[in-house]
Symmetry: none
DNA sequence: CACTGGAAAATGCCGC
DNA sequence: GCGGCATTTTCCAGTG
């Protein structure tokens, strides 16, 4: 491997590592908020579900829900 | 480490590996079923959700659902 | 949903649930062994590490290794 | 739910969503770098491996290593 | 466009 | 009983 390639590789590695560090930091902040929410009396599991639902397109949500309901019906779960 | 300890360790390792192998095999079978279900026209995501719901105690389900609804209401998502 | 489809769905669900039950049982057995190992004086964390290392398909690992070594060299990690 | 609690909930949700957005953005940047690396002739898989290896806190790894080596020896893996 | 593999999220266990 | 860690599951991008 040429020196040039090695330097280039090093650049890539360092850039990635820097960004991943930031990403890890953000993840930690998010965990903290869930902890705060929890100690404010909110249920973490339900909160996560809310976040998930809001992230999904409304159409997707509806589609999945109606399928789940259909399956529940077929299984006598309703 | 004595020979006895080494033998004991080996026993543990082999037992664990054997069980994990079986576990892996089961996981593969489960994946297969999801594949069959899919090729029979069922939606894998919805199916997984059904399995999850059935695994939960009914009381838990209700509790989580009502919390999620409460949160949705608080956030004007309804 | 037709009766046929409903029956088919039920089949899938029941098969999956049965297999998952077995999987859970195996997981419990594995936990037990770790507990036994621990009470025989072995360090569970190290033991898990051993299992992990042995699990890696050595061949596949080696495949990447030459490339990885090249890059590590370039990064002064050797 | 009181107005206060609802407001608090909204705060948590918005904070989480904002941080997750940033995290997604970082992930996109990282993907870009891998793409650049790839078009510079580097193997993405090996590159990821490098990143993974470097991420392991070398110190912590060493901590376990003596125990692991002991066990490997016992298992004839050395 | 389905599959594979790898990253991220979520769940559950063990320790304190 | 809670927090941290490890595993497991889910999701998603890359690939053929």
């Amino acid at each position: 491997m040429t020196t040039i390639a090695a330097d280039q590789l090093r650049q890539f590695v360092e850039q990635i590592e820097r960004l991943e560090e930031e990403k890890t930091e953000l993840a930690a902040q998010i965990r903290d908020i869930y902890l705060h929410a929890k100690s404010s009396g909110f249920d973490a599991k339900a909160l996560r579900q809310i976040i998930r639902i809001r992230k999904m397109d409304q159409h997707e949500v509806d589609e999945l829900d109606s399928l789940v309901d259909l399956y529940k019906q077929a299984l006598g779960m309703l």
